[in-house]
């Protein structure tokens, strides 16, 4: 098991490096002029040229890339001044440095440190909603298969998948925020309670969309499990139907659910761009998109690194969980 995790983590490092390098090249190759965006659309050319030099954008690609990698992880003293002013000390004298945002002129690690917890909060809440709604609907649909309840659950899940998040989001915002005045229209709030109240609508928006996948997955998996011989045997021996469904059939259906959670978690940390924009949720998604449109290279690279780490770690975690849940997959390794 440990060897398996170690192998996966090593592979993850390669994936992260490849993603970051690709992002760096794409950012460089696109026809753009970050200095012009920083200086402003009406700035005189001399000012734009000065900004280009100040940001180091006048250097060749290879030099910029080498400098980026060298600075990304290095050893240095724990000081917030001078050349280490934009660093994050991660312990043991090791620093992570993503430079300074072109637009905000603040260290990227500081900006990401502000945004990441909010994104994790939204991702966790969204996954909770997705799983709760999806698993519940999927199990009910499977138990009452080919009845009106099954039809309703499947149809609702189809509507959930087909409705873009901006439609669901605006509808929820209008109904709960504007019409009923029950929840905040948008924002993040000031206190923990306000954070939670503000979290409900974006989490529901993402949850309704994602729950549809869980519903269909769990329904199919549960129908398969419920037709297995062990189920009939257990029922024949007098095990209550509810116990059998929850403790036995559903437990065996967990493997694909965990895989899906692993994939979803990484994507959600990468940013639920549309939902964050609608609800003004200050996460990584809105930050990344704004940075990409503004060609704010350091923020783009920072977001890519965080997303790549989240996706690979959640995939590894899902793999490990699958191994724990299903002894057959351990045997295959």
């Amino acid at each position: 098991m440990i060897r398996r995790i170690a192998r996966r983590l090593a592979w993850s490092l390669f994936v992260i490096w490849a993603t970051v390098t690709l992002a760096f090249l794409v950012n460089f190759a696109l026809p753009s002029n970050p200095a012009r965006i920083v200086a402003g659309p009406q700035a005189p050319p001399a000012r734009v040229a000065a900004v280009r030099k100040e940001l180091g954008l006048d250097r060749p690609l290879t030099v910029q890339y080498a400098y980026f990698l060298k600075r990304l992880a290095h050893v240095g003293p724990n000081t917030a001044d001078g050349p280490h002013a934009t660093c994050l000390a991660v312990g043991g004298g090791l620093h992570v440095d993503l430079g300074k945002s072109y637009q905000q002129r603040r260290p990227v690690v500081t900006i990401l440190a502000e945004r990441l917890p909010r994104t994790l909060m939204l991702a966790a809440a969204a996954i909770f909603v997705q799983m709760t709604l999806g698993i519940l609907a999927g199990v009910i649909a499977a138990v009452y298969k080919r009845t009106a309840i099954d039809f309703l659950a499947v149809s609702t899940s189809l509507i959930g998948i087909s409705t873009p998040t901006f439609v669901t989001g605006l509808l929820l915002q209008w109904f709960f925020g504007h019409y009923l005045h029950l929840l905040p229209l948008d924002g993040y709030g000031e206190s923990p309670g306000e954070h939670l109240a503000s979290l409900i609508l974006p989490a529901l928006t993402l949850g309704i969309f994602g729950a549809a996948y869980y519903t269909r997955l769990v329904r199919d998996e549960m129908i398969g499990q419920l037709s297995q011989g062990y189920v009939q045997t257990a029922l024949a021996k007098g095990l209550p139907r509810r116990t059998m469904i929850v403790r036995h059939a559903l437990r065996n259906a967990w493997v694909p659910i965990v895989t899906l959670v692993g994939l979803e978690a990484g994507t959600l940390v990468g940013g639920a761009v549309v939902t964050e924009s609608i609800f003004r949720w200050p996460g990584l998604g809105s930050l990344s998109v704004t940075a990409m449109l503004d060609r704010d290279g350091p923020i783009v690279m920072g977001s890519v690194i965080v997303t790549a780490i989240a996706v690979t770690l959640s995939t590894v975690a899902a793999d490990v969980m699958t191994g724990l849940l299903d002894p057959r997959s351990r045997a295959r390794d």
Partner: protein, 576 residues
């Protein structure tokens, strides 16, 4: 029976919800609490929102319009603009200009305090000017002050002090220019050189906490980047009794729908970002109409044609395009915001000459220009015209993208075929300024200061041409035009200056490096309880004299038992 009733109730609720959702009628504006009493009340929080964000709150590093709205409330200047857009003294008690127009002497008010309690002196003015123009300052306006004596060596870092700014005693500061400059006072009344606290020191630093002498100050932690900002009243503001408001609260990245919901619900006091149908609804509603107003036009738009690339190296083709655009039809794309333009300088700028006949729609003349260019086109047989398709570069989801589609139809009628190429904003900015890259695309320019040269010098003079990043997107070169603008800027007599500017505009309209198509204007809507508020011609939100008298009290008090807040309170209690 109970079940049927319950079902009926549910149906009624659902129907009501659907009807409300479909009609989306505007609710009534929130009235003033004391309509009979016009005495200003000293309290309250003014809240506004924007789809965009601010980039900086340092006067030495600001170019976006949203930041400028907040800067006006944070930093007082020697001069300012009044509600009619006229230059007026602010920190300066008075000023005198030498006969030759090269020396400006300002006498400061005594006893004016910065937000940190220190007194504003002439030395602070000099220090702030030197800081804003120092090589370390990423000041997009710096070159606009190049007429100050000693600017070049100072900006190049060759000397420690700016020779052209001198101090006499504690309250007198003088600016010396190399030559008369008509744009100097209008620029000085803008934000870039406004005095900053001594904590800003002599050099620009990103980490400085904004501090000035304006009516509001930024408290510690008052700016949550990317989300919102809160300013509080400056108790030491030099105008007695002002401002009336306790706080100013600005929200960023708020989408248009949410802004409308918040505004109608009273969580915002003004609304400036509208979806086009919403704007028409507000304007058509007699309850709201008295509390809305257009801001002046500060942006000109048009078609920029690269005069170095075919077919636009032929002036007759450019004239044909300028004559082929029916501006009155084009503006209908967003009638509430666009006005037809016939020249570069909008009517709101002083010196607008109504006698100048600018560019206008004349279809027979457009066909005639095409014939003279050697690309005769027969609109009946559709034979002739320019033989190649011309790429038209535009960025996605902008109004220019929609305008381009209508212009495409209009130009097809004179035998010019354009292909609209949609790119993102960053690529658009990069490509349009490269020499030989883009033959044609939308041009747009917003005034930096209210003087005609702001629409002429940075985008049409040959000095604005640059191989890799030109602001003169048409790469238009005409020594006579350069000379007219240069002479106008140095001309002290206003009548003669306006005449020169008119002549320069006539030349542009004739040679058509741009086909000028529209001026853009914003609309602001506010609630009746907001008093003495009018969109300021320069700053949009000048809040010094604004006061609130809201029926039902402040939003917080109104919603004390509101489910939304009750929910937050519940969560807060449970998390403690």
């Amino acid at each position: 029976m109970r079940s049927i009733r319950a079902r009926r109730s549910v149906c009624a609720l659902a129907l009501g919800w659907l009807l409300a959702g479909c009609s989306q009628e505007l609710s009534a504006p929130i009235p003033t609490a004391h309509p009979e009493d016009a005495t200003p009340r000293r309290s309250g929080k003014f809240t506004f929102a924007s789809f965009g964000d601010i980039r900086s709150l340092d006067p030495a590093n600001v170019s976006d319009g949203l930041s400028v709205q907040l800067l006006e409330n944070l930093f007082a200047g020697l001069l300012d603009y009044d509600e009619h857009g006229k230059i007026t003294p602010d920190l300066a008690e008075n000023w005198t200009i030498s006969d030759d127009g090269t020396s400006f002497r300002f006498v400061l008010r005594e006893g004016v305090r910065f937000h940190d309690g220190e007194e504003v002196t002439a030395q602070d003015v000099k220090r702030s000017v030197e800081r804003a123009l120092h090589p370390s300052a990423p000041n997009p306006y710096a070159s606009a002050f190049a007429s100050i004596t000693g600017y070049e060596p100072y900006r190049a870092g060759k000397v420690d002090h700016l020779e052209g700014v001198t101090v006499s005693g504690q309250y007198v500061v003088t600016f010396h220019l190399d030559a008369p400059d008509a744009s100097f006072l209008p620029l000085l009344a803008m934000h870039p050189l406004r005095p900053v606290c001594r904590s800003a020191k002599n050099r620009y630093e990103d980490t400085w906490h904004p501090c000035g002498a304006g009516p509001f100050k930024l408290p510690a932690g008052g700016w949550d980047r990317g989300r919102e900002i809160t300013l509080v009243r400056h108790p030491g503001y030099f105008r007695p009794g002002l401002p009336y408001l306790d706080e100013v609260h600005a929200l960023f990245h708020v989408n248009f729908n949410a802004q409308r919901f918040k505004f109608v619900g009273g969580d915002l006091d003004i609304l400036r970002d509208f979806l086009a149908p919403d704007l028409l609804k507000f304007q058509a509603d007699p309850r709201w109409k008295p509390y809305g107003e257009y801001e002046i036009e500060k942006t000109v738009g048009g078609i920029a044609m690269n005069t170095e690339m075919p077919p636009f190296d032929n002036v007759e083709v450019r004239r044909a395009i300028a004559s082929a655009i029916d501006r009155d039809k084009l503006r209908l794309i967003r009638a509430a915001n666009l006005r037809a333009a016939d020249r570069p300088v909008p009517p709101s700028i002083e010196g607008f000459d109504p006698n100048l006949r600018g560019q206008h729609y004349d279809y027979p003349a457009a066909l005639d220009h095409m014939r003279r260019a050697g690309f005769a086109y027969d609109p009946v047989t559709k034979i002739g015209g320019y033989p190649h398709v011309i790429p038209y570069l535009v960025y996605g989801q902008s109004i220019d993208e929609y305008l381009a589609q209508v212009m495409q139809q209009m130009l097809a009628k004179i035998g010019i075929r354009i292909e609209i190429r949609v790119v993102n904003y960053a690529s658009f900015l990069a490509l349009r300024g490269r020499r030989g890259e883009s033959p044609m695309g939308p041009g747009s320019w917003t005034e930096d200061y209210p003087e005609p040269s702001t629409f002429l010098e940075p985008i049409f003079t040959s000095q604005a041409i640059n191989d890799s990043d030109s602001n003169n997107w048409a790469f238009y070169k005409n020594p006579r035009f350069d000379d007219l603008v240069s002479r106008a800027k140095r001309e002290v007599d206003q009548g003669r200056r306006q005449k020169l500017y008119t002549e320069a505009q006539a030349l542009l309209c004739d040679e058509a490096p741009w086909a000028f198509t529209h001026y853009y204007r914003l609309y602001t809507q506010w609630h009746p309880y907001l008093h003495d508020y009018r969109p300021h011609p320069l700053w949009a939100t000048d809040l010094r004299k604004v006061w609130l008298d809201r029926a039902g009290g402040a939003p917080l008090a109104r919603s004390f038992f509101h489910p939304k807040d009750a929910l937050a309170t519940l969560f807060d209690r449970s998390s403690q």
